[in-house]
């Protein structure tokens, strides 16, 4: 998460008063920018947020496969090959 404008301004004022506080400035900003928790698995290193997003994508994919697609009342299904009759609907 990026620092707010107030936080950045306060750090800038701090730095101007005492330039030797530069290290503290960097450390503080780095702390604000802390990206969250990570999961380590061998060579893999993924944030919990990204892992959750990947899990949601897999769940949505399974739902897309398993959930029946809604059919309109004007669909004409005949021997497995149906057509949407938009032309008839509009006429």
């Amino acid at each position: 998460m990026a620092p707010t404008r107030d936080e950045t301004a306060a750090l800038d004022r701090d730095l101007e008063r005492s330039p030797d506080r530069a290290e503290r400035y960097v450390v503080t900003v780095a702390g604000v920018l802390e990206a969250g928790k990570y999961v380590h698995w061998g060579v893999l290193n993924v944030s919990v947020t990204n892992l959750a997003i990947i899990a949601v994508i897999i769940v949505v994919f399974l739902l897309a496969i398993l959930l029946p697609f809604p059919h309109g009342a004007d669909d004409d299904v005949e021997e497995g090959v149906g057509v949407r009759r938009d032309e008839e609907r509009s006429s």
């Binding site: 990026a2 404008r5 900003v29 780095a30 920018l33 990206a35 997003i53 949601v56 994508i57 949505v60 994919f61 739902l63 897309a64 496969i65 959930l67 697609f69 059919h71 669909d75 299904v77 021997e79 497995g80 090959v81 149906g82 057509v83 949407r84 009759r85 938009d86 032309e87």
Partner: protein, 215 residues
């Protein structure tokens, strides 16, 4: 200029191009309103959702471009637009991956549709490159860290001399011009090929109306 009566129309590049464009997609298939029953699948909804998300990515990216790379750090509205850009990219990739997984298990390259499948894969890979260069244009510590980590990988494949991830100006132009144009062109080709060859029938489905073969 009008052709004289009875004379065959004179060949010109305009006529040739018009005839060629007209033959790209079968008659009535540019924007069809009738589709086989097997097209009623959520997998195609995610294909269209990918295109819709791409438009939001382009629009939010255009607003960010007007403000410049540092704008979103100091503006509340800029921060909002940056978040819209990020999350539309998340939706773009999620929808594209679901569409890709679905089409993989449908073996969607059957019936002379290999080029349709290949353009989809190229669109996916090009989109990843676009997203990665986006990481490099955030103008913050994150982009500095990623670029310094990425340079060794790029150098290891010998591309660092002309694709310098430590050059924010170059990465910005790749991100906002070259790669989005490439993704857009490949996406248009993909959609045109879908319209040209039609949607692949199920593995145990009816005869392919395009290739005339039973899969």
């Amino acid at each position: 200029m009008t052709a004289s009566a009875g004379a065959p129309p004179r060949a010109s590049w305009t006529t040739g191009l018009r005839n060629r464009l007209a033959a790209v997609v079968p008659a009535g298939q540019v924007l069809p309103d009738r589709q086989p029953a097997y097209v009623a699948s959520w997998i195609y909804v995610f294909g269209v959702a990918t295109l819709a998300a791409f438009l939001v990515v382009l629009a939010s990216g255009a607003v960010l471009a007007m403000g410049g790379v540092g704008w979103w750090h100091t503006s509340g509205f800029g921060h909002y637009v940056n978040s819209v850009h990020l999350w539309s990219v998340e939706v773009f990739f999620a929808a594209m991956v679901i569409h890709l997984w679905g089409k993989f298990w449908m073996a969607a390259w059957r019936g002379k549709r290999a080029l349709t499948w290949i353009t989809g894969v190229v669109a996916f890979v090009t989109s990843i490159g676009t997203a990665f260069t986006g990481y490099l244009t955030q103008s913050n510590f994150d982009s500095q860290w990623i670029s310094s980590e990425a340079k060794d990988g790029i150098n290891s494949i010998g591309a660092g001399a002309f694709f310098n991830v430590l050059n924010p100006g170059q990465m910005l132009l790749w991100h906002v011009v070259l790669l989005p144009v490439a993704v857009g062109v490949v996406a248009v080709l993909h959609v045109v090929l879908v319209r040209r060859h039609g949607v692949v029938p199920p593995l145990d489905g009816p005869e392919d109306p395009i290739s005339g073969t039973v899969e």
